[in-house]
């Protein structure tokens, strides 16, 4: 590729230090770090909530949590994990790595970037504040409708719903700002010679994600605003008595909600091939095929939304259309899987923690994808829908496919970001504990769903007891294992063995040409790509 240009005046940059550095920064690396830190904190918050749920579900009978509080925890858990843990993690990587990967000095719109981040903490507070208010007798807690806000339940709900609506607005604005920034950066600030079809795959993943966000977030914002006016200003968008339709909300919500799944996954599909090529010591297979597949998946993701509510009632042609179009997504996805495995095939593989997470990711995300294919079938979906089968399925896609992918990225780039190697033994221990306890948590839930246990119930019939117990115990192991992750990150930030510039033997790409950690301002002169 090319050579680095590290400006030597970097040693005495004129940014404020201490807390003011973090409050006022417009530097892409600082903002990236804040996104990632925020994401990690919210991951632990969302995780603790669900451990409360799993403790309640440990055995039949109501022991710890009242049903209304139970309903609040499940919805807020999902909103936090999706909007405050997974999305900020992907944006954090984008901020850190995209400028480095395309040889740009910073993001194109640094102040917008700052604003995008600082919208997140207030929205996290809005999401969780109702819990605290309820302790003081104000309102009756957070939204208790699940993360999907379905009316009329959400119209009936208390102030928690309003708080969540405003939180979603803020999170949406933050995502759209971030997306605009990424699109502008990728289109205008690539190093000379880096054509679009030479962009790193992570940049491709994010470019499509950004377009999806801009296309769908406004629809979500519109839907929840309609909900707000239904609640307080006498409109009847979702009320049959006034000529509205509750199911219309589901259409609007999932027009956002299904692409959202790909919004969470596309950035991961971007850097997974990069990790694979690094540890297989061999360039990724089928770059073009992967780029076209990402585009195909992005385009198809906005036309399949209704498979999330087949049982709500639809005409037969609509059912058939949404079934077949959903199945069709398996085709480009299969191309991606093929390319990932072909990248490993006849490589020279080694299994450091990032590679372990990546291989585990391919297998577990594969389970998520294949069960998704089965779920597309309308007839069988009548049974799977809203049962624990679905819960298990989307945790395979979003925990394994999302969060475990992010973890692979963290271990992969942490030495570059901090300049220190993480503790490899602890990293591997973290992987094995996570992978095993994850499966033991969610495989039983597939069987619970088949046996007929609906999701979102605070208590269950005795025939579901054994699987729930296994699932709960494993969930606690899974939750506690993440403390190893947190410890490993903190100790790597503080110190540890020095990382080389290339960090990994097989690593290729502009970010690996910089020092570890990279200088505060990098690529002030852009490299030339041949």
């Amino acid at each position: 590729m090319s050579t680095t240009t590290v400006a030597h005046h970097d040693e005495h940059t004129d940014h404020p230090t201490g807390i003011m550095r973090w409050l006022t920064t417009t530097n892409h690396k600082d903002i990236g770090t804040m996104y990632l830190t925020f994401s990690l904190i919210m991951f632990l918050v969302g995780g603790s909530m669900i451990l409360g749920i799993r403790a309640e579900l440990f055995q039949p009978g109501l022991q710890l949590i009242k049903p209304d509080f139970f309903n609040q925890l499940i919805g807020v858990h999902a909103l936090i994990m999706i909007f405050a843990a997974l999305m900020p993690a992907a944006t954090g990587f984008a901020n850190w790595m995209l400028p480095l990967q395309i040889g740009a000095p910073d993001m194109a719109l640094p102040r917008l970037n700052n604003w995008g981040f600082w919208l997140l903490p207030p929205s996290a507070i809005l999401l969780t504040l109702p819990f605290t208010l309820a302790l003081f007798g104000i309102g009756d807690g957070a939204l208790a409708t699940g993360w999907t806000f379905y009316p009329p339940l959400s119209i009936q709900g208390g102030i928690g719903v309003d708080f969540a609506i405003f939180a979603v607005h803020l999170l949406g604005i933050s995502s759209v700002l971030g997306s605009i920034n990424i699109i502008v950066t990728l289109f205008n600030m690539r190093a000379p010679g880096m054509t679009l079809m030479k962009m790193p795959m992570f940049a491709w993943g994010w470019l499509i994600t950004a377009f999806l966000l801009i296309a769908t977030i406004p629809v979500l914002a519109g839907a929840v605003t309609m909900l707000l006016t239904d609640r307080h200003f006498g409109t009847h968008f979702f009320d049959a008595a006034g000529g509205g339709d509750p199911i219309m909300f589901q259409h609007l919500f999932w027009f956002f909600g299904h692409p959202e799944v790909y919004i969470l996954l596309l950035p991961v599909w971007g850097f997974i091939p990069q990790i694979l090529q690094t540890f297989s010591r061999k360039p990724m297979y089928g770059y073009k095929a992967q780029v076209y597949s990402l585009w195909a998946i992005g385009a198809m993701s906005v036309v399949v939304w209704a498979h999330h509510f087949f049982t709500a009632g639809m005409p037969v042609p609509a059912l058939l259309y949404f079934m077949y179009s959903t199945m069709a997504i398996s085709l480009p996805l299969a191309v991606l899987f093929f390319c990932w495995i072909k990248t490993m095939w006849r490589g020279s593989m080694s299994f450091e923690t990032p590679m372990l997470f990546t291989v585990g990711w391919i297998i577990l995300f594969g389970i998520g994808g294949l069960t998704g294919l089965v779920l597309a079938d309308v007839a069988a979906d009548a049974q799977y829908h809203n049962s624990y089968f679905v819960v298990a399925h989307f945790h395979y896609t979003l925990f394994a496919g999302g969060i475990m992918g992010i973890m692979a990225g963290v271990y992969y780039w942490l030495p570059k970001m901090t300049g220190h190697m993480y503790n490899e033994k602890l990293g591997q221990l973290h992987f094995w504990l996570t992978a095993i306890s994850f499966n033991l948590t969610f495989i039983p839930q597939f069987f619970l769903g088949l046996a007929g246990m609906p999701r979102r119930i605070p208590d269950y019939a005795l025939q579901f007891a054994e699987f729930n117990m296994v699932s709960s115990i494993s969930a606690f192991v899974l939750g506690l294992s993440q403390l190893i992750f947190v410890y490993n990150i903190i100790s790597t930030v503080k110190g540890g063995q020095k990382a080389t510039d290339q960090v990994w033997e097989g690593a290729e790409g502009l970010e690996w040409t910089l020092s570890s950690p990279p200088p505060y301002h990098s690529f002030t002169e852009q490299p030339i790509i041949k």
């Binding site: 440990f58 055995q59 039949p60 009978g61 109501l62 049903p67 209304d68 309903n71 007798g137 309102g139 009756d140 208790a144 379905y150 009316p151 339940l153 009936q156 339709d245 509750p246 199911i247 297989s280 061999k282 360039p283 709500a312 009632g313 037969v316 199945m327 069709a328 398996s330 085709l331 093929f338 072909k342 990248t343 490993m344 490589g347 020279s348 593989m349 291989v359 391919i362 594969g366 294949l370 069960t371 294919l373 089965v374 079938d377 309308v378 007839a379 069988a380 049974q383 809203n386 069987f447 088949l450 046996a451 609906p454 979102r456 119930i457 208590d459 054994e466 699987f467 296994v470 115990i473």
Partner: protein, 404 residues
């Protein structure tokens, strides 16, 4: 606290390891199907699961082979891939794509098409119709009557039978004050006071709606599940081919009682079904007579307690203390202690009777769910028990009059 939790976990593990009969109950697949739709769903499910399992195992095997063979520590050198360029190479690369295309749209797609068409065909060949109304948190069943085909088949017409079906697990078990009791006759959280009764072998067209929020009527062994949408009618159908008792649950989050609105269906052979219809119709006649007679205060309070515990205690609590702020207390409540009727004998707006009949916000409109006697009884109970002592009596006849 921690010690207790550890004890529970330890006990749980012990239970898992030492009780083989526990494993006997575990289900690994759908429960036994008893309708054509459930049977079809099971076949579809088994076939698709087999296909995806084969795909998974084959891909995993290739991957694991590579993970073992192509390791750096095993001395494997990376080779340089080249893109398929010749026609033969492109052909072989496209093979997996074509296989998937065939699986998606032929092997899986064609049976799926037939299943969907069958599922949605609610009208043809149906013998009778019922209407199911979901409410927070109970089901209401109404027999609309037979179709011509049902009459030809000699099915007794249950037209006019209408009742509400509510969880019958004792409240102290539901609240968690006592542990769940393992009673096979009345399984924990899966039993109701009034079961839906259907004739074996008849195709029953089900119209579904709701009075408040979304619900979903689901019996796993029937394979049908449909959302009940307030203000709209949705349809599905069942044809239970085997006599027995079948249990299910509401499957759409509908508030804090979501886990507590089970579905229980008794499928009876035609003769027994006819006897049940006869019995029910006699009950209706008796009830209509009951609404016109004068009830004593004690009678009303006694029946009122039963109605209250079943329908009202979920929110307002058995003691009447409520769960403020969402669910106000009835003890000492203004509504439950102020007069019901004005001087001319018309019931006042925002009076006790108005609130029970018509509801407000989360409070359901009970006029659709309870009969005159039940409403009179529960109001009399609330005014003369739960720490209240207003002293008046509301007669079923007055409720009947108020409905007009």
């Amino acid at each position: 606290m921690l010690k207790q939790a550890m004890k529970k976990i330890g006990f749980g593990l012990l239970l898992l390891l030492t009780a083989p009969q526990v494993f006997a109950e575990i289900r690994w697949n759908f429960p036994e199907p008893v309708t054509p739709m459930a049977l079809d769903t099971l076949h579809v499910h088994n076939k698709f699961m087999l296909i995806v399992a084969v795909i998974f195992v084959v891909v995993l095997a290739i991957m694991i082979y590579s993970l073992i063979k192509h390791r750096k520590s095993a001395g494997h050198q990376a080779v340089v891939d080249k893109a398929p360029s010749t026609a033969t190479e492109i052909f072989w690369t496209l093979i997996p794509f074509v296989i998937l295309l065939v699986i998606d749209f032929v092997i899986m797609g064609i049976p799926a098409y037939h299943s969907v068409v069958m599922m949605e065909d609610t009208k043809n060949e149906s013998d009778m119709m019922i209407k199911i109304t979901g409410s927070q948190w109970r089901w209401q069943y109404e027999y609309i009557g037979n179709t011509d085909k049902g009459n030809q088949n000699g099915l007794v017409d249950a037209k006019g039978i209408k009742f509400t079906s509510t969880l019958s697990t004792p409240q102290d078990q539901v609240n968690g004050t006592v542990p769940p009791v393992d009673d096979p006759k009345s399984p924990y959280l899966l039993d109701v006071d009034n079961r839906l009764v259907l004739p074996v072998g008849a195709k029953v067209r089900i119209l579904m709606t709701s009075t408040d929020v979304l619900h979903n009527w689901w019996v796993p062994q029937f394979g049908s599940s449909r959302v009940a949408v307030p203000g709209f009618i949705r349809e599905t159908w069942v044809q239970v081919d085997k006599a027995g008792t079948y249990r299910g649950q509401c499957k759409e989050l509908c508030g804090k009682g979501h886990g507590y609105m089970p579905v229980v269906v008794d499928a009876l052979p035609k003769a027994e079904y006819a006897a049940w219809v006869d019995l029910k119709q006699k009950e209706i006649t008796a009830q209509a007579a009951g609404a016109d007679k004068e009830w004593s205060k004690d009678e009303l309070i006694a029946q009122g307690k039963a109605v209250y515990d079943k329908n009202c205690a979920v929110c307002h609590q058995v003691s009447g203390a409520g769960l403020p702020p969402a669910f106000p207390a009835l003890t000492g409540s203004k509504i439950a202690t102020s007069p019901i009727f004005d001087a001319s004998g018309k019931y006042l707006p925002d009076s006790h009777l108005d609130r029970v009949l018509n509801g407000i916000r989360v409070m359901p409109a009970w006029k659709a769910l309870l009969n005159d006697t039940e409403i009179a009884a529960v109001i009399t109970y609330e005014r003369n028990a739960l720490g209240n002592s207003v002293g008046d009596v509301l007669q079923p006849a007055q409720v009947k009059a108020a409905r007009q």
